[in-house]
Each structure stands twice: as structure tokens, then as C-alpha cells.
């Protein structure tokens, strides 16, 4: 059942699908950025697909990617796209799910917006923009959602230090740069 969705998608849009996989049973298709809206429309409207319900939208920053026990060739370097935007969709009728992943280069983190097709993505794309700085093209209202307008940078990017503080209201009784936490940076 699950493989069928990916096969049908590849058959219908051979030029748009970069590759497909089902890690841990989650069907995933890597889509070319410019083809995303076309693929999404197909997934929503085709009677065998009917992905009517949005689940989530987020982004992965590969900057620190050094998987344990894998060759250095798999580590992130500047020749590889830094961001991956992931959309997960669900079908109420067929009960299948799919994840669309779009790889975006560091210099140009633009992604077509799906907010018009599934209104739930309106806020989720705003959140992704807020946290990762991905520009969703065609989004009706791309503002920060959790953080404030004056915030500088994108906190969930791997190059944003966890200890960095940007208080909106300055408090003289609090240190701006607190003492470095003992485990900070150990992740790398």
C-alpha cells in the first residue's frame, strides 16, 4: 500500500521527484523546488491520492551533520544543500501519509508556499520562517510568529548559539551573556 503512493507519484511526475524512500515506514519523496506546487496539487486532487489533511511543515538544517559511523562523504559540506523543508500530508480517505522534502541551498533558501492549498500550513510556514529563515514564496502573510519583529537571526539554525540572549527589554540586573553552559557545543 505504502510503496504504491510513491510509485504512482514517480510515474505521474517523473521529472519532479528526485528520489523516494521509506525510512522506518514513513514514505518520503524528495521533490524539486520548482515542481512542488504541481506535485502538491496532484497529491491533493488525484482520486488515488487525496491527501486532504496537512500534518506538519518544518525544516532541517544540515550544517553540523556528521552521522556517527558513516563515511566523511556523507557529512555536510558546502557543495550540498544546507536546508531541507519537510511537509507531511495525510489522506482521510485512504489513510496513507507522505512526506515531501525539498532541498534548498544556503544562499537561496526560498520555497514555494503551500499555505493556499492547505490553510494549516499558513502558520507552520510562518513558524519555519521564524526559526530557520526559509522564505516561502506566495505566502499571504509571512511574519515572525513566536518571536518578535526586532529579533535578529534564526534561532533553530545550527549556527545560532543556544546561549545567545536577545532580550526585548533590557534588564540591567541580568547578564547579557550568561556563563557558558557546561554541555554547550558538545553535540558537535
Amino acid at each position: 500500500m505504502s510503496k504504491k503512493v510513491l510509485d504512482a507519484l514517480t510515474a505521474a511526475h517523473p521529472g519532479a521527484v528526485v528520489r523516494t524512500a521509506s525510512p522506518h515506514g514513513d514514505d518520503t519523496a524528495w521533490i524539486k523546488r520548482d515542481e512542488l506546487v504541481k506535485v502538491a496539487t496532484f497529491l491533493r486532487d488525484d482520486p488515488n491520492m487525496l491527501f486532504d489533511a496537512p500534518v506538519f511543515c518544518t525544516c532541517i538544517d544540515w550544517l553540523d551533520w556528521k552521522p556517527v559511523g558513516r563515511p566523511v562523504a556523507e557529512h555536510w559540506d558546502e557543495s550540498k544543500p544546507r536546508f531541507t523543508v519537510a511537509y507531511q500530508l495525510r489522506s482521510t480517505k485512504h489513510k496513507h501519509r507522505i512526506r515531501l522534502e525539498i532541498e534548498l541551498p544556503e544562499a537561496d533558501p526560498r520555497c514555494p508556499s503551500l499555505a493556499d492549498m492547505w490553510p494549516a500550513f499558513n502558520w507552520q510556514e510562518r513558524e519555519t520562517f521564524d526559526m530557520y529563515g526559509i522564505r516561502f514564496e506566495g505566502h499571504p502573510d509571512l511574519r515572525r510568529i513566536f518571536l518578535y519583529e526586532e529579533f535578529v537571526g534564526y534561532p533553530l539554525r545550527k549556527d545560532y548559539p543556544k546561549e545567545k540572549r536577545q532580550p526585548l527589554v533590557r534588564r540591567d540586573d541580568l547578564p547579557i551573556n550568561p556563563i557558558k553552559a557546561p554541555h554547550a557545543g558538545e553535540h558537535k
Binding site: 500534518v55 518544518t58 556517527v68 482521510t92 490553510p119 502558520w123 507552520q124 513566536f146 558538545e186 553535540h187
Partner: protein, 417 residues
């Protein structure tokens, strides 16, 4: 419409009201902006709503969350998998056990442990999850009723919640922030005498539910303020990503426990209540019915629960026995590595989800093979539901914001991450 000059005259009292023409005596027809929140007595949770109103009618409601943003995802990426459990407690803080289970499930999915847990551990997880679901729905119904003026049901329902919290405290050691579940099972077995205590508690809750239904279901004030308010159609509910009681009240037949069965739910008998109109009153009724179904599930669990271990014996997730830790160097090292480096989850990415208090709660994790998640994302139902709030507010009165917001059951910790 009165122009600025006339308004000024009115305010300064330079012109008597009777001297004004009929049209000038009307209130200015301009749209007005009203701020609700971030800290407002009728709004549980800190959220700011900038309402644009035409008289009393809402034209636009810009909902601005984020006041409770605690960097859940950033913090998780710097903590070991086990250290994330206390953070998940603070997501949906009225049903922390379900969040605990969700986080454990995503790590187990990456490690290939799904379905390989000891049976007793699965039962314990379902029991504490369903207890949490009851506390979640009790809080939602009770608080909403209080905001509409019905204070008695609030006290009754919160008393019930307290009984459950006391039981959960006996189980986990903490009243609210349990951190009880571990990858591969739960941290400790249920205390002695838990079964009879829970049965007695459920009996009491069932009788309080009857009292509350008599107080609320046909209460004129309650019905007038709930029925027909904040309705959402089935199609809208699906495409806006609504799940849980909100979607079900609109007739969307979707419950993760039944449609994507996990744990031992396939062995349990329960019904998924559905509404028809999708308004606040239906959301209330669906929640009440779900409460009864939770009680039904719990009673079945108490009968079926087998004896046995509550923690997987897989050495990747289980701590060595205390006796061995203190007496052999190998176990001591393993214990140290387990605590300091964390549970090593194989590299990969996955999304695991379960039915939380408000619907599909999921975690999307990318692992790089270390003991700390490379990326952690929570699909919080409250956040998705809150994004529909603007649509629900439209063309309602300011007073209707309170029941609509109450029945969305936005939990700040979960919504703002």
C-alpha cells in the same frame, strides 16, 4: 459619520448632543482595534489577540502566540533523549503522560523497538495516558464552563482532576511534571494497590460527570453561549489540519488510536464519538463522551494488565540493575555511558505520532547516531488549532471569543513550544 472635528467637539463638550444631527449622534462606524491578552482573566493561556471590531462584531482577529516560547526544539537538540522527557512534560501540561509516551515512541521507532516492549509496560503507558486524557478534558470542560459563569462544575471537575493527579503522583512521584516514561518502557512499576484505587476514583468521577451533565447540558445560559458558536465545517476542519475533539465534533471520523493503532489499543474496545455541527456545544459533548470512553478503556486495562517487567531488557535502552552497577565495573561503565552519553539512537529520520489530549501529537526527529537528537520537532495540535481561531472568531461577538477559545483548548506550553 462624525468627522474628527465633530468628535472633538463632542469629547470636549463644546457642542450639545441635541444640537447634532441624527447621523452625527450615531456611534462612529469606523472599525476599532481591541487588544485581548496576553494576560486576560477570561483567557487561559497567554496569547494576544488583536481584534478588529465593527461595533461588537469581529471583523478580523490576529492571534499572536509565542509568549510561552521556551525553545523546546533548541533545548532538545542539546539534551540527551532521556533529558528531553522533562521538557515534554511542559508541552501540554494538563496531559504530560501522553507527551512522555510520544517522545518515547519516536526514539523507539528509530531504534526498531516499536511493538517489542514488555506487555505490562504498554499497558501501564496506556493507563497513564488515558488518565492524562481525562485530566485534559476535565480541565478544558471545567475551565470553559467557569468562563461562562458556571463556577460549580469547575470546582467539581477540578476536584476529579485532583484525585487523578494524586494517583499519578503515587505512580510517578510528581503531581504535574511526571517524567515517568522512558525509552523502552516506564521508569517504575505501578504502586501497590493501584488498581482498586483507580477503580474507586473512576467510580467517583463517573458520578461527578452525571452531576456536571445535569448542571450544564440543558443549562440555558451555557447552551445559548455554546450552541452555534464557532462552528467549523467538515471540509474546513480537514484542510486546516484540525484533529482530535475539534475535528471529531465537525464529523471528521479520525482518531489515531483507532486509525493508526499503536501500543495495545487494537486490543481495547472503545468508541470514537462524533459531532454533527462542529460548534462549541458539540466540542463540549464530544469531550464529555470521550471522558466516558477513557473510563471504559481504563476499566478494561485494569482487568487485562499482565504481570511482568515494565522495562525492555534491550541493553541499548535499559539501565543495568543497581546491584550489578555497584558490584561490577562493566555495569558501572555502562551505567555511566547511558547517563552521560544518552541512549544512542541510530541515524535516521522519522515521525511518530499518537492521540494526545487535543488530537494528533507527533514528534519528528532526525538522529545522527549520537545520544542527542540532531533535530527535534513537535507537531503540537494546539498550535494548528489556534491557527483556525481567526476563522472561527469571524462574524461573532467579542463575548464569543471566550467560549471559542476555551473549546479550542489551547495549551500555551504546547502551542508555543
Amino acid at each position: 459619520m462624525a468627522d474628527a472635528q465633530t468628535l472633538k467637539q463632542l469629547v470636549l463638550g463644546r457642542k450639545d448632543v441635541q444640537d447634532l444631527s441624527d447621523t452625527e449622534q450615531d456611534l462612529p462606524p469606523d472599525l476599532m482595534t481591541v487588544n485581548m491578552g496576553p494576560s486576560h482573566p477570561a483567557m487561559h493561556g497567554t496569547v494576544r489577540i488583536v481584534l478588529t471590531v465593527d461595533g461588537e462584531k469581529i471583523v478580523k482577529g490576529d492571534v499572536q502566540p509565542g509568549y510561552l516560547h521556551r525553545c523546546f526544539e533548541k533545548e532538545s537538540e542539546h539534551a540527551t533523549y532521556t533529558q528531553v522527557f522533562p521538557y515534554t512534560d511542559r508541552l501540554n501540561y494538563v496531559s504530560p503522560m501522553i507527551n512522555n509516551c510520544g517522545w518515547a515512541m519516536v526514539a523507539e521507532k528509530l531504534m526498531g523497538l516499536t511493538g517489542k516492549l514488555p506487555r505490562r509496560a504498554e499497558y501501564v503507558r496506556v493507563i497513564v495516558s488515558e488518565m492524562s486524557r481525562i485530566t485534559d478534558h476535565l480541565t478544558c470542560v471545567g475551565a470553559s464552563a467557569m468562563e461562562l459563569g458556571a463556577f460549580t462544575p469547575f470546582l467539581y471537575l477540578l476536584k476529579c482532576r485532583e484525585w487523578l493527579y494524586e494517583l499519578l503522583e503515587k505512580v510517578s512521584g510528581a503531581r504535574l511534571t511526571h517524567s515517568y516514561v522512558r525509552i523502552g518502557g516506564v521508569s517504575k512499576d505501578l504502586p501497590e494497590g493501584f488498581g482498586p484505587e483507580l477503580t474507586a476514583c473512576l467510580d467517583k468521577i463517573a458520578s461527578v460527570m452525571v452531576e456536571c451533565e445535569t448542571l450544564l447540558n440543558n443549562n440555558k445560559i451555557f447552551r445559548d453561549r455554546m450552541a452555534g458558536i464557532g462552528a467549523i465545517s467538515k471540509e474546513d476542519a480537514i484542510k486546516t489540519g484540525c484533529v482530535g475533539p475539534i475535528a471529531r465534533s465537525a464529523g471528521v471520523d479520525y482518531d489515531v488510536r483507532r486509525d493508526y493503532p499503536y501500543s495495545i489499543y487494537p486490543e481495547l474496545e472503545f468508541d470514537v464519538p462524533l459531532g454533527t455541527t462542529g460548534d462549541c456545544y458539540d466540542r463540549y459533548l464530544v469531550r464529555l463522551e470521550e471522558l466516558k470512553q477513557c473510563i471504559r478503556i481504563l476499566r478494561q486495562c485494569l482487568v487485562q494488565i499482565p504481570d511482568g517487567p515494565v522495562m525492555s531488557d534491550d541493553h541499548r535502552v535499559a539501565l543495568p540493575a543497581k546491584q550489578a552497577t555497584y558490584n561490577t565495573i562493566e555495569s558501572m561503565i555502562r551505567h555511566f555511558k547511558h547517563i552521560m552519553d544518552g541512549v544512542r539512537v541510530p541515524a535516521g529520520e522519522t515521525y511518530a505520532f499518537l492521540e494526545g489530549g487535543n488530537g494528533e501529537l507527533g514528534f519528528f526527529v532526525v538522529s545522527d547516531g549520537t545520544g542527542r537528537p540532531y533535530k527535534a520537532y513537535v507537531r503540537s495540535p494546539s498550535f494548528v488549532h489556534l491557527s483556525t481561531a481567526e476563522m472561527l472568531f469571524k462574524n461573532h461577538f467579542i463575548a464569543d471569543v471566550v467560549p471559542i477559545f476555551g473549546m479550542i483548548n489551547m495549551i500555551g506550553g504546547e502551542c508555543d513550544k
